[in-house]
């Protein structure tokens, strides 16, 4: 069985600090915000694979529902809850207000 090893960024900065961090992660997004997943950082590959199976994969847009006590996001119509130390490993870029999100308007070929 595959067992992820976690050597993640712990503690240090408090949530919400620095509104424009150099590399925004899911953990920086505020509740209600929609963000697009860009990639992963320092996350074991098998755990990445697991997150991707739920739809947390580069290119997808997700909505942040809560950051406390843990991070909760909505992917399609599923709510996923995970600890901040995972959220800090998921790189995102904010979806600007005007760009329609992929969830609501699937692209037509």
């Amino acid at each position: 069985m595959l067992i992820p090893r976690f050597r993640l960024h712990r503690g240090r900065h408090r949530h919400g600090q620095g509104r424009h961090p150099a590399r925004p992660t899911l953990w920086h997004a505020s509740p209600g915000q929609e963000v697009t997943i860009v990639g992963f950082e320092a996350l074991p590959p098998d755990f990445q694979h697991y997150l991707q199976a739920y739809g947390l994969m580069p290119g997808r847009t997700v909505r942040v529902l809560a950051q406390r006590p843990v991070t909760i996001v909505q992917v399609e119509h599923t709510e996923l809850a995970f600890e901040p130390q995972i959220a800090r490993c998921i790189l995102v870029s904010p979806v600007s207000e005007k760009t329609p999100s992929e969830e609501t308007n699937p692209p037509t070929p």
């Binding site: 590959p45 991707q52 290119g59 006590p69 843990v70 909760i72 119509h77 709510e79 600890e83």
Partner: protein, 645 residues
């Protein structure tokens, strides 16, 4: 070789078991949380009794991450299948299709069932099924499993299933590796391409299977091909695979799914958010616990037991039985065995039917409602902090809470946890400190009769034990803690029919399991009493029961029953209390001791089955003296501070 079967597979909590019920007429537990089913269940297809259908635990993706998922992978890879029905949640179409592709690559005779279309429609989603079918090349059927809608169409589709031919083309390095791999694979019940892809993604069960079926030289060759591929790619192989699939799915979903603009969020969604809110979550939890306490402790253990035990059995049935049987049966041995002080009827059956049945019925009803509402997984979010202190994460709350229903079943549910270390810790804490429904009801009923502070002391001690022992055990067991990651299902209205059938199923099982043990325990006590061995035993236990725990000597008999089932012991103490034999301090000490006492025989067997004999024995050797130790310390402490209820 087994006859080919129909396998139901899919993500957790998508309605596989509900569909299984409609396909076979056989009920397996259906609840609104991922991880309800942790073992395969088998039944005959309603329309074709010689065709077996198998329900499996939910799996998120290959490779399996937990023991319950491994059960499914084994079922999928080891046997031939007549058909594989992938059940998916229609409102999570992309996630579903990712798994469809994985199954299709294995060349399985696949049918895709998009379940929960009622919810998808409520969200304004519209599916172009024809286009889905054409692209995937497999039957695609929509269902509402809870209502049996779409089942007829599924039965028809089952008449003509065919192996899936769909396959995606991956980037050249991967295709080349596949081409090199496939000729070296041993014959398998699944397609070589799918097997090779699983091997490339590092699936441990496939690796084991290949090692078993290949010479070590051939296996080394495969390993070499994979190494070379890894070296060629700038990122993990699985990421490349998933990206290719995602690309395909994005196009497919774009063509087949129309999404109307959503309106207001439904109330259930907003309520769901409140239940995990750092501020509102706590009062909601308190409300839920209070409702549970009221329904089970006050109504079940108080009102219903009062009526059944005191009135129905105490005043009507038992006096009649005693007077008649003693008259009809001339042999005192037999009549005493049936209706004496330790009579099979007057003690065994009366305890089971008059005292425990109302408690477990109310508990199972309340619990079924909670399970079906979708509230339980949200507790994982609320309790994550607590469990992180004892080296676990909030996911451990699910087996623990299920333990309140039945520790034996909950021990099996520890399979949903990801690591052996977590499974051992939770199994241990379940065995030590989680009272099962029947026992909990008796405890609540008794303590409620004394004072609220009695309940608080009992709960406080048990939680303290859980924390300290959990903390220590987590320090002793090597390994890291896994961070929490759970899916929160939508809050739903519990279905009356499901709660009812679930309660009945559990009740049947409770009666089958508990009543024989009750009769056995009563019979043992009767024999000890008849041959005048009981006083000797009570005397021998006096140093512990009386001097250390401060209980009346007769309580020794209760603890003897506790070796069979803790709820049996609690009931015996309950009867002692109602006869005025126990003071408030003694009740609290006895309840704490019996809560921590060795788990019932059935769950000991389950622990042996899931964790092995050595681990099980180790746990028991700790638990038994520890329970007595805590009881004695509590007795001294309460006497010292002069607590009187």
């Amino acid at each position: 070789m087994k006859d080919p079967r129909i396998l139901l597979v899919g993500h957790p909590n998508v309605g596989k078991s509900a569909l299984f019920h409609h396909l076979t007429g056989q009920y397996v537990i259906v609840s609104n949380y991922p991880g309800t089913t942790v073992e395969v269940a088998q039944g005959a297809l309603r329309t074709r009794p010689d065709q077996l259908v198998v329900d499996t635990p939910g799996i998120v993706t290959f490779p399996a991450r937990s023991e319950d998922e491994q059960v499914t992978v084994r079922a999928l890879l080891e046997d031939e299948h007549y058909a594989v029905i992938q059940v998916g949640d229609a409102k999570n179409l992309r996630r579903t299709l990712h798994f469809t592709l994985q199954l299709a690559e294995l060349g399985l005779p696949l049918i895709l069932v998009l379940n929960m279309v009622d919810e998808a429609q409520a969200y304004g989603m519209q599916l172009d099924l024809e286009s889905l079918r054409r692209t995937l090349g497999i039957p695609v059927i929509t269902t509402v499993a809870t209502r049996g809608q779409g089942v007829e169409e599924l039965l028809r589709a089952l008449e003509k299933v065919q192996p899936t031919l769909l396959h995606l083309t991956y980037p050249p390095p991967i295709e080349e590796a596949l081409e090199a791999l496939i000729p070296h694979l041993p014959p398998a019940p699944v397609a070589g391409r799918g097997l090779a892809l699983l091997f490339l993604s590092g699936d441990a069960s496939v690796e084991t299977w290949l090692r078993d079926h290949l010479s070590s030289a051939d296996y080394a060759l495969l390993e070499q091909i994979r190494q070379d591929l890894r070296a060629r790619l700038p990122e993990p192989i699985t990421s490349v695979l998933q990206r290719t699939r995602e690309h395909f799915i994005r196009n497919l979903v774009g063509r087949t799914l129309a999404q109307e603009q959503r309106g207001e969020e439904p109330f259930s969604v907003r309520l769901g958010h409140l239940t995990t809110h750092p501020l509102w979550g706590i009062p909601i939890l308190a409300l839920v616990l209070y409702a549970l306490y009221w329904f089970v402790g006050v109504f079940g253990a108080g009102t219903l037991v009062g009526f059944l035990e005191e009135t129905l059995f105490g005043k009507i049935i038992n006096p009649w039985m005693v007077s008649h049987l003693e008259r009809w049966i001339p042999w005192p041995f037999l009549s005493q065995m049936l209706v004496g002080e330790y009579g099979l009827w007057t003690m065994g059956i009366t305890y089971a039917l008059a005292l425990l049945l109302p408690i477990v019925v109310t508990f199972f009803i309340a619990f079924g409602i909670l399970e079906d509402s979708g509230y339980l997984p949200r507790l994982a979010v609320l309790t994550n902090q607590f469990f992180s202190r004892i080296g676990l994460n909030g996911q451990a709350v699910l087996p623990m809470v299920l333990g309140l229903g039945c520790v034996t079943m909950a021990t099996m549910t520890t399979r949903i946890l990801n690591r052996p270390r977590e499974r051992i810790l939770v199994t241990f804490l379940l065995a030590l400190a989680i009272p099962c429904s029947a026992q909990l009801g008796v405890v609540m009923g008794m303590l409620a009769g004394i004072s609220f502070s009695a309940t608080l002391i009992w709960a406080g001690v048990v939680v303290l034990v859980l924390l300290t022992v959990g903390w220590l055990a987590a320090r002793l067991l090597p390994g890291e803690r896994t961070p929490l990651m759970v899916e929160l299902p939508p809050l739903r209205w519990p279905l009356f029919s499901n709660v009812l059938i679930k309660t009945l199923a559990r009740l049947e099982w409770y009666i089958k399991e508990a009543v024989p043990l009750f009769l056995l325990g009563t019979f043992l006590l009767f024999l000890l009493d008849w041959f005048h061995l009981l006083p000797g035993f009570i005397h021998a236990a006096e140093p512990i029961v009386t001097h250390w725990l401060g209980l009346p000597p007769e309580a020794a008999a209760a603890f003897l029953l506790g070796f069979l089932r803790r709820d049996f012991a609690a009931t015996n103490l309950f009867v002692m209390e109602s006869q005025g034999l126990l003071s408030p301090i003694q009740v609290v000490v006895a309840m704490v001791t019996i809560t921590l006492f060795v788990p019932c025989i059935a769950s000991v067997f389950m622990i042996i089955k899931e964790r092995g004999l050595k681990t099980a024995l180790g746990m028991l050797v700790f638990i038994f003296p520890f329970a007595l130790f805590v009881g004695g310390v509590l007795y001294r402490f309460l006497s010292l501070v002069g607590w009187h209820g």
